[in-house]
Symmetry: C2
Subunit: 95 residues, 2 copies
Amino acid sequence: MLKHNTYFDGRVQSLGFERNALKATVGVIAPGEYHFNTGAAERMTVVSGELRARLKDGAWQTYAQGSSFEIPANSGFDVQAVGGPAAYLCEFLGG
Amino acid sequence: MLKHNTYFDGRVQSLGFERNALKATVGVIAPGEYHFNTGAAERMTVVSGELRARLKDGAWQTYAQGSSFEIPANSGFDVQAVGGPAAYLCEFLGG
């Protein structure tokens, strides 16, 4: 029921779950920069720490604990954990 | 750097990390009831879904998304995920 995912040699890991037909993961990003592509649109919420993210053709923005950003479907984003690992909630929208 | 933990035949899983000397995990609890013991004191925050928890000698209380409860050191608590899996942030206090 819960699925463990690992990316970038274990530097990004997540746990997938589904509730009320909403698919989501919680995960942790180790310091560094990573690129993810999206299928369904996603909402990323910073649960602990701080993330920087850059949507396709966008500028880097900083997201503090408690803040969110959304990535369109069939797109992608670069993400950095700053100053230490950061934990996030990723909700898959309309997917 | 990130540590994957699995409990109760995979029905509770977490990812451990450390930031600014604060140890923490993010995890997911599948529907059911579980008991955990504490070493260091812990603060549990519901990241997605809903948890019910009962501290030692206490009554069951419901914690909605965004709410927190703390468990003393060297104690324990029972926890239930209600209505589907719930995601949490667990911060280890003073440990």
